[in-house]
């Protein structure tokens, strides 16, 4: 909004000072409601959740303070590994799912983008094909992958029918391997989107630089490795931020792929938070887990953003 307003303000004639002031003022006025809404409904409720995590809220919000009791509970659960507590499982799964999801989406997205950037024929058709999975909702993706991977009706059965009867792929019904299926479905859905981001970045690279590299005799690999990818650093920043938050807030995907958490093995912090807050009537524990999630994201993202943005500012 402000970037739109700025050039208009500079072109305005000096005598229209009232108009000029209005033009400065209107964007602020227009932004004010959304700013206030965000302030109340995002940051306000963040604080409210933070407050609830110190109370003994059960089915409904309560204001009776219990100090750090809820944090202590979660802290103890963090180290309960035999049998694994739901919170421990949630954390381990978050690391596995989040790590695989971010790394593979970046890798596949970048590879696809580089391949598509080779001025190939039919790019106009290929690009949307890779991008379309993102148009599906996660619950559809999850259900489709659950059916596709189901050993009784999906991939394994098809391969058996083709004659390879020793083939075995039962991850989706094996509680210990389920989380990898969630990652597969998530990567399938999102890597096309990451590809589009990288493709836009690649198109933004100045062709003069690439030509210069070619004249200097750099191989294609070296050009990408030493010149293009480093130039695209801001795209990596955006992609990592988007992927990380998608991984952390992922909820419907895990429920639909795993079928409501058999064996308690498909827990993620988001499913943990929802079930404790809304279905198990332990709102205080749910709020505590939400606060820990937020703090964890902040602990990862703030230093990263700080270092990236400071370097850009220099």
């Amino acid at each position: 909004m402000t970037t739109v307003a700025a050039p208009i303000a500079t072109t305005a004639r000096p005598r229209a000072s009232l108009r000029e002031r209005m033009q400065n003022f209107v964007p602020k006025l227009v932004l004010a409601p959304s700013f206030l809404l965000v302030l109340a409904f995002v940051y306000g409720f963040n604080l409210w959740t933070f407050f609830l995590s110190f109370t003994n809220s059960k089915g409904f919000a309560s204001t009776t303070l219990v100090g750090l009791a809820n944090y202590q509970k979660l802290w103890n659960w963090t180290f309960e590994t035999d049998p694994p507590s739901s919170w421990y499982t949630a954390l381990v799964n978050m690391g596995l799912f989040g790590g695989l999801y971010v790394i593979f989406c970046l890798f596949l997205g970048l590879t696809l983008a580089i391949l598509l950037d080779q001025k190939i024929r039919g790019e106009g058709i290929l690009r949307p094909i890779y991008l379309y999975p993102l148009a599906l909702s996660f619950i559809v993706t999850g259900t489709a992958w659950k059916l596709f991977l189901d050993p009784g009706i999906g991939l394994e059965k098809a391969v058996h029918d083709w004659g390879w009867t020793s083939f075995k792929f039962d991850w989706v019904v094996n509680p210990r391997m389920m989380i990898y299926c969630v990652a597969i479905a998530g990567i399938w859905q999102t890597s096309g989107f990451v590809m589009a981001m990288f493709l836009a970045g690649l198109r933004g690279v100045d062709s003069e630089i690439i030509k210069a590299a070619q004249i200097d005799g750099a191989s294609a690999y070296a050009t990408y490795r030493r010149i293009i990818i480093p130039i695209m650093r801001p795209v990596f920043l955006s992609a990592i931020i988007i992927l990380t938050h998608m991984a952390i807030k992922s909820y419907d995907l895990v429920l639909s792929v795993t079928g409501k958490n058999p064996g308690g093995a498909a827990e993620l912090p988001s499913t943990f938070m929802y079930s404790y807050t809304f279905t198990r009537n332990q709102m205080a524990v749910g709020s505590t887990s939400a606060v820990i999630m937020l703090a964890t994201i902040a602990a990862i993202m703030v230093p990263y953003l700080y270092s990236e943005l400071r370097e850009k500012g220099r």
Binding site: M1, V26, V30, P33, K58, G59, F60, A61, P83, P84, S86, K146, D150, P151, G152, D170, V172, V173, N174, P175, M178, T258, G259, K260, N261, P262, G263, G264, A265, S275, Y276, F278, T279, R280, N281, Q282
Partner: protein
């Protein structure tokens, strides 16, 4: 351009909000009802009630939320109540009703209840959820029970099986099916389904008194007892009779396996009968319903209720009309014939019901008289959601091998339930 769009959106938003406010204030001859009976058979069953109320001049306004288990609906309801704008009534399950009652959010329909003498016709144990300190604040629509097994009759005839009366006979029957090459036990490996089955296993292993002591009273000596350990061992035995792909399967898909004859039996509450009905199968001819072996005479129940919220005086008459219509004998019969459950009133004639319904009605009466009518732990009718959730965790972790032995399971059960209490 952007500015104009925003202003326009704002204006539209304001109009919508205004219109909604007007709609709320206007009609008092209206029942606002939050429920999740949106699928074919359920919606048809509820339509009976809508028509009964229309005859009395009350309009029906749905606050529907899709989704079978009602998790989304419970969240929506919580928001409505917290905002001070409760519906006239809401479909509600188990301890959630108690929560709202304890928070002082429910109304009072005691006068109607006394006039109609509901205390006599509704099973005693169930009244725990419909009354608070002697004050009526909810009406039960039906009684489901979870200790049923559903058997494909054609498969049963093929393997020459007979009704199993004990757990050991049940295992023998499952072995027969296995030998004949059918999947013996159709199971959906989701925590609530495994826990629901375990309710029956505990009842079968320890009997009604043990069940009550362990789950209703949360007696630690019962939770840690050898009987409970034996119940876990029995549950582990059943695991051997599932197909390898059971994890995460939805319950209705498991029922479909029995309907199609791929599997012999499913252990499930009587809502499974709705699936048989929908597939045009007839009780006694195409499928058989028995009590879970070793639990005959006992009923592990859950029930759908309408919680009556504390509404302003001008909406009170509509609420009482709703409560009255819900408890009418004709509605209780018509609704439950369609839904597959049994009436919450014990004085409803069983003529319209099929074989399973008739048995269900007789069982509820007998179990209520003998004190063998107990709430389902898995379905939130024995303990509040926090404890029931911990129960789900332990049972599913044991069933899927995360908890390795029945000794560990018993210790974990005791620990988890006590921590969640």
């Amino acid at each position: 351009m952007k500015l104009r769009t925003k202003l326009l959106a704002g204006a539209i938003g304001a109009t919508v909000v205004g219109a909604m406010a007007v709609a709320y204030a206007a009609d008092i001859k209206e029942v606002q009802m939050l429920h999740w009976w949106t699928s074919g058979g359920e919606a048809a069953a509820l339509n009976v009630l809508k028509q009964d109320l229309a005859k009395e001049g009350y309009a029906w306004k749905d606050v529907p939320v899709a989704g079978g288990g009602g998790e989304g609906a419970m969240t929506a309801l919580k928001a409505m109540v917290a905002a001070g704008n409760p519906p006239t009534a809401s479909q509600i399950l188990g301890y959630f009703a108690v929560d709202y009652a304890e928070a002082g959010k429910l109304g009072d329909i005691t006068s109607l209840a006394q006039k109609e003498d509901w205390a006599k016709v509704i099973p005693t144990a169930l009244q725990k959820f419909t009354t608070t300190n002697g004050k009526w604040d909810a009406v039960p629509v039906n009684i489901h029970s979870v200790n049923w097994v559903w058997i494909n009759k054609a498969v049963m005839d093929k393997i020459g099986g007979t009704e199993p009366k004990t757990f050991d006979e049940f295992i023998a029957l499952l072995d027969k099916a296995k030998a004949a090459g059918v999947i013996p036990l159709a199971l959906g490996g989701q925590p609530w389904q495994e826990a629901t089955m375990f309710d029956s296993v505990v009842m079968s292993t320890g009997g009604p008194d043990f069940y009550k002591k362990a789950f209703v009273d949360l007696d630690e000596s019962a939770l840690k007892s050898d009987t409970m350990k034996k119940a876990f061992d029995n549950l582990a035995k059943l695991r051997a009779y599932t197909d390898p792909n059971y994890a995460g399967r939805d319950w209705n898909l498991a029922t479909a396996m029995v309907i199609k004859g791929d599997a012999l039996v499913q252990v499930m509450g009587d809502w499974a009968k709705g699936e048989f009905k929908a597939a045009n199968k007839e009780a006694g001819k195409d499928f058989l319903c028995y009590r879970f072996p070793g639990t005959d005479g006992s009923v592990i129940y859950n029930t759908d209720m309408f919680a009556m919220f504390n509404v302003p005086a001008d909406r009170k008459a509509a609420q009482l009309a709703l409560a009255d219509a819900t408890m009418s004998i004709s509605f209780q019969s018509a609704f439950n014939v369609v839904k597959g459950s049994v009436p919450a009133r014990m004085d409803v004639p069983d003529t319209a019901f099929d074989m399973c319904g008739k048995k269900g009605i007789a069982d509820v009466k007998a179990a209520n008289a003998d004190g063998k009518f107990v709430g389902s732990m898995a379905q939130n009718y024995a303990q509040p959601p926090s404890v029931a959730g911990a129960y789900h965790d332990v049972v599913t972790k044991f069933f899927h091998g995360e908890i390795k032995s029945s000794d560990a399971a018993v210790a974990e059960l005791d620990k988890a339930l006590m921590a969640a209490k």
